[in-house]
Amino acid sequence: MSSATAAKSLVIYLVCEPETPELAEAAVEGGADIVELGIPFSDPLAEGPTIRLASERALARGMRTKQCLECIAAVRERVDVPLVPMTYAAILEAYGYERFVEDSRAAGATSAIVVDLPVEEHRDVARIQLVAPTSTDERISVCAEHTDGWLYLVSLTGTTGARDEVSPALAGLVERARALTGVPLYAGFGISTPAHAASVAELADGVVVGSRAVQVAVEGPDALREYVAGLRAAIDAAVPA
């Protein structure tokens, strides 16, 4: 089934590294509808061990903001899907908020995710807002109102990283958010297996997979393509387009 006709979106997260253009292409070939491209930050407070390690590795390899924007441009040359830079406010604070928006758009990015930038701050930076099971209804409404395209549901109270089960808090969060907003709801954090992806697709409009994709990506583009195809197939089987 082609991703263009799929009912549910599959978002794959990768950290910007020299191999990422080739990996992102493989993820899209496997069925990713959107690729999040992590700009590594030294103190990534939302990340669990896998993405922390990958971020440290990327920084040690010189993947600073400028190199990451070049990486996004290189990914853009290979794929047509939306590319969403995901990073932390410190990066934009140093680079310049407006300048980051301009340069990332010029590189081919769509929107952004700035994990620790509250919705009230820098509204000129169009971005996907995040809400969590601990977010109040009022907070979910404000974030939905200002989000850019879809609302990122953090499925659990914790950091990113593969878990054994999909968070039991997700269903309640989806239910609350549905009652408050009509924007598409994509869920992430702790989703790693095809079975997880399928069960999340039954609840939300999109599935975000990060840590496990970052782990598989170390094995190369073929392994990543196969892994993403497995997620895609499970999602499409659970919720046919």
Binding site: F41, S42, D43, L45, L59, R64, T65, Y88, A89, A90, I91, L92, E93, A94, Y95, D116, L117
Partner: protein
Amino acid sequence: MRELQRVIGDESREQLLAAEGRLPEVVVACVGGGSNAIGIFYGFVDDADVRLVGVEAAGAASLGTGRAAVLHGARSSVLADDDGQIADAHSISAGLDYPGVGPEHAALRDSGRATYVPCTDEEALDAFHRLAKTEGIIPALESSHALARALDLDAELVLVCLSGRGDKDLAEVLSH
């Protein structure tokens, strides 16, 4: 945080007035993340004649050598590089070994209400030993930074926030 910690400032102000009948000329506190310092400063922040001095570890001087950056959910003065990546801090005292600081300290620095000065590991160790020998009080290594800079002051009545006890630091001190 500040409202809880300011008990230190409110009570020390009250006790000093009772004991000495006047306010201190200077209040000195160590600053890592800045909680004990903001607490004692807030007892005196409206007393314009009282100087407020924060003492940072020289290797973790986020106020002295940092830049505007975002760390742990706060925009403040942070040890960071040109890309916003957080730099490593160093201090002999765990409590001061932090690359950021509570943003209100950055505001007090910028308004000029408080000043922030550095203190090296060696200077803190000297102050640690001096207080232990002369008063029989073992100060925390964090507080020893404040003591070291208090010794420099040309003032008669200085209030130092002895923010912690040094039992926990003996292994570290004895290794030097």
